[in-house]
Each structure stands twice: as structure tokens, then as C-alpha cells.
Amino acid sequence: MKKYLIIIAAAALAFVSCDLLDKAPLSEMSPESYFKTEQDLQLFSNTFYNNLLPKSPYGYQSDHYVKQTMSDELHGGTYRIVPNSGSGWSWGDLRKMNTLLAYIDNCNDEDAVKEYTALTKFFRAYFYFEKVKRFGDVPWIDVELGSADEALFNPRDNREVVMQHMLEDINYAIENLPAPTSQFRVNKYTALALKAQFCLFEGTFRKYHAGESTLTTLPADAADYTFYLEQAADAAKQIMDSGKYSLYSTGKPNEDYRDMFVLEDCEGNKEYIFAIKFDYGLAIFHNGTAYGLLPSQGRIGATRKFIDSYLMKDGSRFTAKPGYESMQFAQQVADRDPRLAQSFRTVGYKRIDGADILAADLSSSCTGYQTIKWVMSAKANGGDSDRVDRSTSDLPVYRLGEILLIYAEAKAELGTLNQDDLNNSINLLRKRVGMPSLTMDVDADPYMTNPATGYTNSKLLASPQLALILEIRRERAVEMAQEGNRWYDLVRWREGKCIEQPFQGLYFPGPGEYDINEDGKLDYCLYEGDVKPSSKATSILKIGSEILLSNGNNGYVEPHKGEAARSFNENRDYYYPIPSDERSLNPNLTQNEGWDDGLDF
């Protein structure tokens, strides 16, 4: 018996001592054995691209683009509340950046360490730009936090502190990122573009919010707005002067602008500084085409006030024409800035590679101003791209066009803009589409300062640069139509009240049949009463239910007629609220002004 006991004991000892319980992971690596090579750093940083970059610029609503169902931001008022959690207060990507920076010294390849430190700092500045835009003051965190770290309970850092850190990061990135090799990878000029963008944002925000409650916490020694605007202009200028980028042009002013946004392969397009690649074979799609084309994607449409702000082809103002308010579609869109017809369905519109003339379709566009900006060729991918989530044109993140606008705006806001600057920026954009140049002697457009259609900020109206700034804002809105900037443009200009302006569409003088694009085919038949008339029109719409008009049986299409009035609360809505759970977890976080999160501290 003893013999057996000994065997048992020996076997047992053997089991425990020979590390049978050491079971290292088989399909995963440990951080200590990782971060060794350039490839390790690249794979780890690849998520920053995927997680942070905007993949649906066409989808944002603003006073220029509205859907049938408006966003909570556009509704304002009681549509906006303090959420318990989430809602942009997410920090996972930042943590990953700080993790990479914590482990990057594992790597012995010094060039790779430098490049990927710079790349990570680029994305950290990118990350914080989104946070500052949304929340204003936010805690600055540049280390990988532990669960017992006191910094978890830090209060929010002033936006000035955050901005200065962002500048350090982006300057390091500009210094250490390589020259461009691919439009789909971050490089020195990508960093310059980001710098120009966030410095313009901050400079104009500081200028127009000065003295307002949105900036009350700014320390006395904070950098002046002019500092940021100079940084913006300088960064933009470096890109403009690099000789690496030029506006996309094949000498076709009536097509180039339209075609650029639907290029299947943007590699040859020297305007794109940074872009996202889409590919049919890999099933990497966006929704741009369907967004403008199909009735099922929210029916986004431009507002009439935006359409009216496009200049005439000769550079004169459409809104200076008598009777412009009650022009019907064909008259309204005739002889305008060629970008109008390259951004929206106008008279004679055909799809790229399409045979038929198509009218603007109210069923796909709630205002009747139907966007075509991201709509690919009718033959793209064998016609398959006309479906939901099947678009494969490469999407720009930064393009030279925007850089030129940043340059002009920063200089104008600084009061240092001259004709040369205009010629090197705005006028290049105009030249591409065959528009006459903008000159320094322009007068202030009353349409753009009309409270129903333009800007009302008293600082702007008092500015000696008013006329030029208005023209540059017009140019920005037109050139960058449906690229997703407009909401934050209103924020930084302190022009939130623009969302309260009328959201209107096509003008109809009354019941009857309409061939809106004058192609000989009836498009709409509007009727009153209960009897549906027989008509050859494509759509027969009952006034008051199937189509809502501003003035009973005539007027502008008002897709949201009868809905509660939109309201923008200037003491609340420029910032998003901090989620209430986050304030409970960290009572040092203060809430943004005006937001009621139900907490008594």
C-alpha cells in the first residue's frame, strides 16, 4: 500500500512542479514582445485611421442641408438633453495612442520610433480637436492611465491648455512626419492641414465668442485669437507653397468640380492631401451615391437660402435681382456659379454617364434641391453603386480647396488679406469653375446680413472686414457644400441662430402642372381638394398633405411645416453636455452652461 501512496505523491508533485498550469496564449501576443518593429507600430496605429476619420461627410445636417427628420441639434429646445453616458465622451482611442507612446521605446528602429511618435501625436491632436469642438474645456491626458490613477479625477483643463498641447503635438508631427508617399497615409502635409484647420477654428471661436459665457473660463494670459489665426494662415501657406498640391482640373470648368468628388481612384488627383480609400472588390463602401439618389436615405436637401446665396456666373449676386424670391426652379438656377449645377440637380441635369435628363426629385430630397455632389457615375461598378452603401469613390479628409479657404479666411479675420492673397486662394477656386475673380473692393451683401438668410453676430457686423468675410464665407459654403463643416462653422462664428431661419425649398405659385427643369416632361402636378386629377406628371401631390407649402396653396416647399419651432439657445447649444454619469463618477467635472443634468453639484 505504501508503494501506491508514494506513486501518488510523486505523480502529484510532478504535475504541479512541471508547470502544467503555464498556458500562454496561442493566438495573441504580449505587449512586452510587441512594439519591436516598424510593422508592429504601423499595425497598432492603423486603427486611428479607421476609428477617427470621417467616412460620411455628406451626412451632416445644418442650416444648409436638412433631412425630412431633422437632427436633435437642428430642432434644439427640448430635443436636446443631457445623456447618461456616451455622446462623444469616449476616450478609448486616446488611450490607445497613449499606450503606443508608452511602449514605443521597445522598438530599436529609431526612424520608425520618430515617425510613429509623430503619427500618434497627429492623431492625438485630431482626437482633441473633436473634443474641444464638442465640449470646450476637456481634461488633457497624455499618459496611459492606470485604474488607480488620480488623474482619472482631474477637472477639465481650460481649452487654452488643451490647444497649447495640441500645438506641441502637431508641431512635433509636422517636424517628424515623412514627406508624402501615399494620399492614404499621414504625412507632414496632413499634419499641416490639421493644424490650419484647428487653428482657424480656435482663432475664429476666440474672436466671435470673446466676452461671451462660452469663453468665461479663459485665463487672462491665454494666447490672443490673432495668434491662432496667424498659425492657421502660416500652416496653410506652407501647404500652398510646397508645390506638391494643385486644384483638380482637366480644363472642364463645368465638370471638374463635380467629377473630383466621385473619382474612383484619387491617386492622380493632386488636390487631395489626405483621403480614405474605398474599393468595390474589398467591399469597402460609403453611402454617398444613395444619399443623394434614393428616397430611403433621409431625403436630404439644400435649403433655399443656401441655393440663393450662389452667385451668378458673371459674379453678380442672384439676390440682387428683382423678384428672385418668387422665381421658379428653372429661372432660379439659370446662369449661376457653375458649382451649383455641379452640386445639385439643375436644368438639363444628367447623371455622369447617364443618358436621361433628370428633374430634381422631391421624394429623394425634402426641399427639392437634390444633391449630386457624391453621386457616382450611373455606370460605376456596373450600376451597383446606385444602391445603399455601395459607393466606392475615395473620400477626401483634407483637400487643397479647403486649405485655400482657411488661408483666405484667417487672413481676412486678421485684417491682413490683400489682392495677392485672394488671387492665390479664392480666385484659384473660382478660376477652376470659370468664375470671375473676387476683388478687395467688394461691398457687403445685404442678403448675407439679413436676419432671415444671413449672419447676425454683432462683432461681425461691426467688423471693417465685413464685406470680405461675407464673401469668403459664401465661397466656403459653396466650395465645401455637403462636406460636413457647416455646423461647426456656425459654432465658431457664433451664428447658431441660423438654424432658426426658414428651411424652405422649391417655389410653386399654386396648384397646377409643372415641368420644373423645362425638359418637356411634366414633373409635378399639385392639387387641392379630394379628387386626384389625372395628369401625365411624374408625381401628383396633394397640397397640404403630400406637399407642404409656406403659404397655403402656394409658396415655398416647407418640409417641416407644422413642426415645433426650431430654437437655438445661445447660452447652451454651442457646447454639448457632459454625460451625467461621468459627472457622478468624477464630481470634479463641471457641466457646460445651460445644460440640466438633474445633478445638484
Binding site: 501506491y4 510587441y34 467591399a283 463618477l585
Partner: protein, 698 residues
């Protein structure tokens, strides 16, 4: 020596995308009653030119077209060889070895959803559930276990019985998966990777996991004349899941019993109390259920779902797992039990009374919630201690009497139990609700607002909104407060409906409205047999417990959740407030008011908190056995015909407000991704089963 070998193989095929829950959940909205499933020409309806939303999310096509087929195959082989050596009578040595091989081979196919908006014009939905793809996976599991233990058994001096056992065991488990997805097969009829026609790259996946357990165990039993019973046992277990130095845990147990009825002095009472036993025990158990090597940070690799840097190949990325506590170790629960078992009148009446306290220490779970700037899930740690205390009583009575000269047998038994759990340790000194628990919290507490009926008039509503600041709950309150809206009470009298400091001590206008865990569970079984008939019934029920209907629970909220829900209860409108129906249960109809965070029904309140206490007629069995005299003649030993019904009826206060959610189905569901949305929309209904049968014994 013995050997036990088992093999089984099974196949299970089913239609749809995902499982049946998925189909029900996704069909629960946009499938309004005015939509037929098919057009007159037989084609499917999916979208219409006049509606943005997709009818029933196309799930009727998924099921109707017959192409979305799934097949799960399982193969399992296991073999246990055991060797017993018994050199002397008192001693035995047993060694066994088990090997188990298990393989799942699953195939899932989905196809384009073809539909028609206009006669003769067909469209196809080709993403999501309508993607044309084939997914195949092979998962192989290898499990081996070895046990060796020695047993020594001896009786001394006739009355002292002694038994000791000691041994060790080792188990290891290995799993490997390979899966592949291929796109755009040339036909919907067949499913094989050879039929791929596309340039869309197939996607491959892998994955391996392994873990092992090793431990020693021992047990000593002792009894004296079968009167005094004592057992002491212990395990010393190690697991590969934790870091070295934290792998082993010791889990002792002991129990003692005293069979009072076996005492010589008890003999006089034995005619009445034939069995009486008093017992007490404590036992500890370990739990190591976390993912393998959870204490380590791991770098994993994957393809993006849709990102490329060059258009030639899908981009790949590395990611790192969130940190967890490096000292993760066993969670231990120790249970202290004491009880009495008694049998009276020759076991006609039996009862058991038992009380217990269970202390769980170092509960393995997500740590205390951290501020969002942490940027990852809170670390998994041994974070909470809790104590569960409870009791259980059961009794039964069984007898036979003479009824009209025939034996009438009947029985009744019942059991009742209750327990509650209190958090005894948790790092939440502020007692804030932003963290999951706080010390002293009873598990299941539901905090919410108190209400005082619906406003009678617009004037009353607006006056109240002047008096109390209700802005915290006014999301989507288009038009402001009106008659029929729900009146929330300003409990703390500060003139504002609020969360206070969001802590237990300053909860604002909230209080504990109830508890999600039942105060009682009980069961009653009744039965009799007489003249060949046998009847048995089983009732089961619970005491008060509560549920605030999930914001996605459209079976309860109807259009107060998503206004485009597919199914609305037939009497729903009778319960909705209107000027003509001011005493209705539901308030003024406002779309999304129960659904949107910040809308006023979304906040838990006492008016719509549901008491889901129930009593269920769980089973009824009625049988008749044909007299043997008759059956013997046809050479049959016994014929019994019977009816059996499961889940026949229930009583519950909840039934008044929803006939469509069984109280046992009234809980918040999560899908496999952890999301609470879809699976609460609608779910597979509770079933009633009725069975008729004949038993024939030859």
C-alpha cells in the same frame, strides 16, 4: 478496469439569419398590419415608394425565400478508462483517464433579398441580412482529464465507521477554430466555396485557447452507529487562468449530522417521529470563470471590417486588451447551512427546514466604474463581497384512504424558499449610482421617481410645470405639459425634479420602488389516484418582485416605444389616455416617450413599474389505466392513456397591463453583442404545451 466510450453526432438545420430570436426581434417593427407579405404576383414586399422604412426589415423574405439555410453539425467522442486496484478490502486506488473530442462544423448561408416595388420591377437588398455570403466554421475541442484517488474504509469496534479519500486531478481543454466567409455565390440554391464568383476577398479567421486545472482533494467521513455523522473535505485547486502566485485556492468543507431518531432514548417517540435528523455544514467553492489569462494584456490582430490603405487588401490592425487586475484569483463562496429533516407517521408526513448564509468573497467581475477618460473597460478584478441569506422549507403528506371500498391515494407537497443578497464590500464610499453597487445595497433594488396620476387639464399641467421645474424629463415633450401627461412628484421638495447628487444619501426625487428579485418562490404539488385514474397538478409561483419595462419592449409600451412597431395589443387603444378616456392606464400618447433617453416614461417611475409576481399552473396530468383484467386478455400488461399540459395558466398583476409578456419573460434582454435593443422589441413567446399519450407495457 472499466471503459466507457460514447459517441454522438447531430445535425440541426434551421432557416433565417442568426437565430429565431433575431427574426422575431427584427420583424417587430415596420411590419405594419396594412402590409401584406407578398404582392399579388407572388413577389416579396420589402420597401414601398411611399415609406422610408423597410417592411418587417425583410425578415419575412429571409424566411420565405427558402435560401437562408443554416446547418450545425456536432460530433462528440469521449472515452473514459478507469483502473481500480483493491489490494486489501479496506483500500482501493482508482485512476481514470478521460479523453473527449468535440467538433462543431457550422454552415450559415444568406442570400440577397429580392423584392418588388412595382409590378415586374425587382430590386434586391444586398447588405446586412441580404448579403450573399457563405460562412463556414470548424471548431475543434480536445479535453482530457485524469483523476487518481485512494480510498480507505474501515470500521473500528463495530460502531465507528471511518472512510478517508485523497487524490488529485488534472484537466486540460484546448479549442481551435477556423472559419471562412465567402461572398457572392453564383447560385442561391447551393452553398459551397467553389461557387464564389466575386472579387470580394474571402475572410478567414482562426483562434486557439487552452487552459488547465490541477488540484488535490481529500475527504474524511466518520459516523458512530449511523447516529453521529461527520464529514470533512477539502480541495486545493490550481488554474492556468490566473497568474503564477495566484493560481491556487484552498476550499475546505465540513458537515456534521445527528440522527436524533437513532438514539436509544428516542425509541418511545419513534412511532410518531420515525426519522429526525439535525445537521449543520459549511462548504466553500471556488469560481475561476474568467477568460483565459485575463490578467495579461494581450495584443490581437484582425482585419478591418472596411478600411484599406491601398485598395489591394483589407487593412489589418493590432489592438490591445484592456488591463485587468494582475492579482486576479479565485472567487470563493462559503456557505453555512443548518437544517432539520423529519419524517412522521412512517414518512407519511415529511418536512425539511433549512437556513443558509452564503458569503461570496472577491467576486470576479468588472471592477468599480471608472471615469470615461480611463478609456477602457474597468479592469476585471475580485471586486465585491456579498452575503446571501435565506431559508427553504418543504413538506409533504402522502396517504391512502378507503373510499367506497376502493383505495384512494392522495398526496400534497409544498416548498417555499426565500433569500436576499446584500453587498458587504464594494469600493464606492460616495455611494453613487454611477457605480454598480454600494455597501449595504440589496441586489435588485429598483430606484425611481414617484408619480401622482395623470394631469386632468392642460391648466393643471402647466401650473404644475410652473411650480416644479420638470426640465430634466422634457425630451420630446412637444407642445409642453398637457392634460394626460404623467405628474412626477417633487419628493425632496426642492422645486425641481432632479437626481440630487446621484447618491444613495441624496437621490433627488427617487426612492426604492421595489426589488427585481422575488421575495418568495413556492411550489405546490397535489395528486390523487382512484379507480385507475391518476391526477397530478403542479403550481409554482413567486412573491412580489418588479420590473420596469425595457424601453424597447414594444409588447408592453407599443407605440410609446417605437411608434412604428409591428404589433399592437388588440385592447391597447382602450388603455391610452384621451379626452374621452381620462382614466386610462397609459398617458397622453407621445411617440418615443418610453424609448428616448431623457423622455419622461424612460425614467423609472412607480406608475409603470410592474409587479411580476405570479402563480402558474405549471402542470396537469390526468391518466387512466385500463383495468388489468381487461388488458391481460389481449396480452398487454398495462395500458394507460393520459393527458399532460404544461404551463396552462397563470395569475399575475402584470397580466392586467400586458397579456403578451409572460412574467417569467419580463426581463431585459441582451443580444450576443451585449446590446439591449432589438431582442427586447419582441421575443419568442412563452409556450403552452398539451400532450395526449398512451403508454402500453407488454
Amino acid at each position: 478496469m472499466s471503459n466507457n466510450t460514447a459517441f454522438y453526432s447531430s445535425t440541426y438545420d434551421y432557416a433565417g439569419v442568426g437565430n429565431v430570436e433575431n427574426a422575431i426581434a427584427y420583424a417587430a417593427n415596420h411590419g405594419l398590419a396594412n402590409f401584406p407579405l407578398q404582392n399579388p404576383d407572388g413577389s416579396w414586399i420589402y420597401s414601398t415608394p411611399h415609406l422610408n422604412y423597410k417592411v418587417a426589415n425583410g425578415r419575412h423574405i429571409v424566411y420565405g425565400n427558402g435560401y437562408n439555410t443554416n446547418l450545425d453539425r456536432k460530433t462528440d467522442f469521449s472515452n473514459t478508462t478507469e483502473l481500480t486496484i483493491k489490494p486489501v478490502k479496506q483500500f482501493s486506488l482508482v485512476g481514470n483517464f478521460t479523453y473527449r473530442f468535440h467538433q462543431n462544423r457550422n454552415t450559415n448561408r444568406s442570400t440577397n433579398m429580392v423584392y418588388s416595388d412595382y409590378p415586374g420591377v425587382f430590386g434586391a437588398y444586398t447588405t446586412g441580412a441580404g448579403d450573399n455570403n457563405l460562412y463556414e466554421t470548424v471548431q475543434t475541442m480536445n479535453y482530457l482529464a485524469a483523476n487518481v484517488f485512494a480510498t480507505y474504509e474501515e470500521s473500528f469496534a463495530k460502531d465507528h465507521n471511518f472512510k478517508a479519500m485523497a487524490g488529485f486531478n488534472y484537466e486540460s481543454y484546448y479549442r481551435k477554430a477556423i472559419d471562412a466567409t465567402g461572398y457572392d455565390l453564383i447560385t442561391d440554391e447551393l452553398s459551397d466555396f467553389n461557387l464564389i464568383t466575386t472579387t470580394r476577398q474571402p475572410v478567414l479567421g482562426g483562434g486557439q485557447t487552452v487552459y488547465a486545472l490541477a488540484g488535490f482533494f481529500g475527504r474524511i467521513n466518520y459516523d458512530y452507529k449511523g447516529r453521529y455523522l461527520l464529514e470533512i473535505s477539502g480541495r486545493y485547486d490550481g488554474t492556468s487562468r490566473f497568474a503564477e502566485g495566484h493560481r491556487f485556492g484552498f476550499f475546505p468543507s465540513a458537515s456534521a449530522g445527528w440522527r436524533v431518531s437513532e438514539e436509544p432514548w428516542f425509541a418511545p417517540a419513534k412511532d410518531i417521529v420515525n426519522n429526525l435528523k439535525v445537521r449543520a455544514s459549511f462548504g466553500s467553492l471556488g469560481n475561476q470563470k474568467v477568460t483565459n489569462n485575463a490578467w495579461m494584456r494581450k495584443i490581437t490582430f484582425d482585419n478591418f471590417a472596411g478600411y484599406t490603405f491601398d485598395g489591394a487588401a483589407m487593412g489589418r490592425y493590432a489592438s490591445i486588451s484592456a488591463p485587468n487586475a494582475s492579482d486576479l484569483t479565485w472567487e470563493t463562496s462559503t456557505q453555512y447551512n443548518t437544517g432539520i429533516d423529519a419524517g412522521l407517521f412512517n414518512d407519511k408526513l415529511m418536512f425539511t427546514v433549512e437556513g443558509f448564509i452564503r458569503d461570496t468573497k472577491g467576486m470576479l467581475q468588472q471592477g468599480v466604474a471608472l471615469p470615461g477618460v480611463y478609456g477602457a473597460n474597468s479592469p476585471l478584478m475580485n471586486s465585491a463581497d456579498l452575503r446571501t441569506s435565506g431559508y427553504e422549507i418543504s413538506f409533504s403528506w402522502r396517504d391512502q384512504i378507503d373510499l367506497g371500498g376502493k383505495p384512494f391515494g392522495y398526496s400534497i407537497s409544498a416548498n417555499i424558499s426565500d433569500n436576499k443578497t446584500i453587498i458587504t464590500k464594494y469600493d464606492n464610499p460616495e455611494r453613487t449610482f454611477a457605480k454598480d453597487y454600494y455597501e449595504g445595497m440589496e441586489l435588485g433594488e429598483i430606484w425611481g421617481f414617484v408619480t401622482d396620476g395623470l394631469f386632468k387639464t392642460d391648466a393643471e399641467a402647466q401650473a404644475y410645470a410652473q411650480e416644479v421645474d420638470l426640465s430634466y424629463i422634457t425630451k420630446r415633450l412637444t407642445g409642453g405639459w398637457l392634460a394626460g401627461d404623467l405628474k412626477y412628484v417633487d419628493l425632496d421638495g426642492d422645486g425641481k425634479l432632479s437626481l440630487g447628487s446621484d447618491t444613495v444619501d441624496k437621490p433627488g426625487d427617487r426612492k426604492i420602488l421595489g426589488n427585481a428579485n422575488a421575495t418568495l418562490q413556492y411550489g405546490i404539488t397535489l395528486g390523487f389516484d382512484y379507480m385507475g385514474f391518476d391526477v397530478s397538478t403542479f403550481f409554482q409561483g413567486t412573491g412580489n418582485h418588479y420590473w420596469y419595462p425595457n424601453d424597447e419592449s414594444m409588447a408592453f409600451w407599443g407605440p410609446y416605444s417605437r411608434p412604428y412597431c409591428s404589433f399592437i395589443a388588440d385592447d391597447f387603444l382602450d388603455n391610452v389616455w384621451s379626452e374621452d378616456n381620462p382614466d386610462a392606464y397609459f398617458p397622453r400618447p407621445r411617440a418615443y416617450s418610453a424609448f428616448t433617453s431623457g423622455a419622461y416614461l424612460y425614467n423609472k417611475n412607480d406608475r409603470y413599474l410592474q409587479n411580476i409576481r405570479y402563480l402558474r399552473f405549471k402542470n396537469l396530468t390526468v391518466g387512466y389505466t385500463v383495468p388489468q383484467v381487461a388488458t391481460k386478455k389481449i396480452g398487454v400488461e398495462k395500458i394507460r392513456v393520459y393527458f399532460s399540459g404544461e404551463n396552462l395558466y397563470y395569475w399575475s398583476p402584470f397580466k392586467k397591463h400586458s397579456k403578451y409578456i409572460d412574467p417569467e419573460a419580463a426581463f431585459d434582454r441582451r443580444d450576443s453583442g451585449g446590446s439591449t435593443t432589438r431582442y427586447n422589441n419582441a421575443f419568442y413567446p412563452w409556450q403552452k404545451t398539451m400532450m395526449f399519450g398512451v403508454d402500453i407495457t407488454f
